[in-house]
Symmetry: C2
Subunit: 303 residues, 2 copies
């Protein structure tokens, strides 16, 4: 039976307490680094880069709610949330993607002011070069799409990608360890990638279609404790993608401190609206132009 | 139109010459290390471990063809080729596989004398501990299943896995680089994993269902030049698996110097017979017990 909303807060407390007991230590042990290159949460001397309107829109919304009526952003920062473009990680992860596909992906992201392009690590250097000066971030996936890579290798892949120019890192949670109730491995795995990726923010892909509601809650809780910037629903390579129910559950568990990225099967503006209403503040999609413009392009690059 | 057998040798020569030209160097630049822990190809002082009957059955067959009527093997080495058990990498790669599934996989491999268990790198240490003294190797996958991980990260994953006990490494070729005709990246990617994996042998997964016949030939040629021990058809996560035609093509290109592993969709003894007849000397399967015994177990762990 699905978990009822009224039970979630209580469950999160119980699970967090249990996880703390299992891990046998005070948490969190890793400082959150925020998303992208913004470290304003950790750094009193915020560099006022002005990119928070597209990189940390949830922070900006919190400032709005606190009474701000105007938020600064430098010229060329791109469209801000309100339309969808600034929420979208323009994504191409299929293994047979060629150089020319990555070039087109980056051209589209630049033209439509998407938040980032999301690519496999073999393409990070190329994407970084193509997007220089565009304000579009390079996001990469690590341990993708199975999440069953050893923690050391996952952290290495993240560190190398950031060195090559990645500004956001989407890692797949160790699903097998979660299923084995080995929360220490799940937690350490995320901690190592978060640490290796700094200053880039980390999104933890839960692969929600493979998890029970309890496992989704534990995954969100561990991600938050480990200093991740986002939780994310799906790889797009498993049997299911993002659902409104999962996005709402994830938002409820992580609160306003982390981002929630809906990915997998988000193909139209209507899909994106439903995900945003459920609590998502980032969308992973390949049909990004269709979502942002509401017009069918008659093609999809595939996930 | 598929490549005709009569054209293959000529094509391989042309492609190898072109690839040499594109790479602009003398090849091979990396020494083959053989498969598993046997280095007899490189080492005149063969340690006479006796494991070649299960680890390098193709070498043993060559000795048979040269006139040998008996081949030594120590006690407990397991069943040799002739049945299928010694040809099978008993495989469990699905991300939701739990600790108890890996324990069962290793128990089955020990009981049936399979060549190896094939697991994701997060499980290498556990499998190594479980299989101590069994004669069953630990095989792991790297850059799996997309092959689109950066070459440095793929090599790191391989090196760490071998340090943790892996004796064979199945890497996925950089399919996107192949499709981009960037053979230098494809080649360097394999070279780095081969070097990082030594003394473990490397199998290069081509993902044949995603390639043209020309790309399959180039993939085999580059694998051979880079010092791989095997070429392998499929990850089991793409749209297609091993076919008789692909195995025959791969065997023809690599000759008798490398192994050929058929994987993806090999589920019955009949499938395995067809693959062996086409030239495969290793089978990757999850339905290994059914293949080895010819009896349905009524269950499959899934790939």
């Amino acid at each position: 039976m699905p978990v009822q909303p009224s039970e979630i807060d209580e469950l999160v407390d119980i699970i967090a307490e249990k996880v703390r007991g299992r891990l046998g230590r005070s948490l969190p042990v890793v400082q959150a680094t925020g998303s992208g290159e913004c470290h304003s949460d950790d750094n009193e001397d915020c560099a006022s880069c002005g990119s928070c309107v597209v990189r940390r829109p949830w922070s900006v919304r919190a400032i709005e709610q606190a009474g701000a009526s105007r938020v600064g952003a430098p010229s060329g920062i791109g469209k801000v949330d309100g339309d969808f473009a600034g929420m979208i990680d323009h994504t191409l992860l299929k293994p047979e993607a060629q150089r020319e596909d990555i070039v087109r992906l980056c051209d589209e992201a630049r033209a439509h002011h998407f938040a980032s392009v999301c690519v496999n690590t073999t393409w990070v250097s190329l994407a970084k070069a193509l997007l220089a000066g565009s304000g579009v971030m390079v996001c990469c996936v690590v341990g993708f799409p199975l999440g069953a890579m050893s923690p050391g290798a996952k952290a290495y892949e993240a560190r190398e990608a950031v060195r090559h120019g990645a500004q956001e890192v989407d890692m797949v949670m160790n699903i097998g360890a979660m299923k084995s109730r080995d929360y220490e491995t799940v937690f350490e795995d995320i901690c190592r990638v978060v640490k290796a990726s700094a200053p880039a923010g980390v999104k933890v892909i839960l692969e929600t279609s493979s998890l029970t509601d309890e496992e989704k809650i534990i995954g969100c809780t561990l991600s938050k404790l480990a200093g991740a910037a986002f939780v994310k629903t799906s790889t797009g390579f498993a049997k299911g993608g993002a659902t409104v129910e999962d996005v709402a559950l994830m938002r409820r568990v992580v609160g306003s401190e982390l981002g929630v990225k809906a990915s997998g099967g988000v193909r139209t503006t209507e899909d994106a609206v439903r995900m945003r209403e459920a609590g998502a503040n980032r969308i992973g999609a390949s049909a990004s132009i269709e979502i942002a413009t509401g017009k069918s392009t008659g093609k999809s690059t595939g996930y």
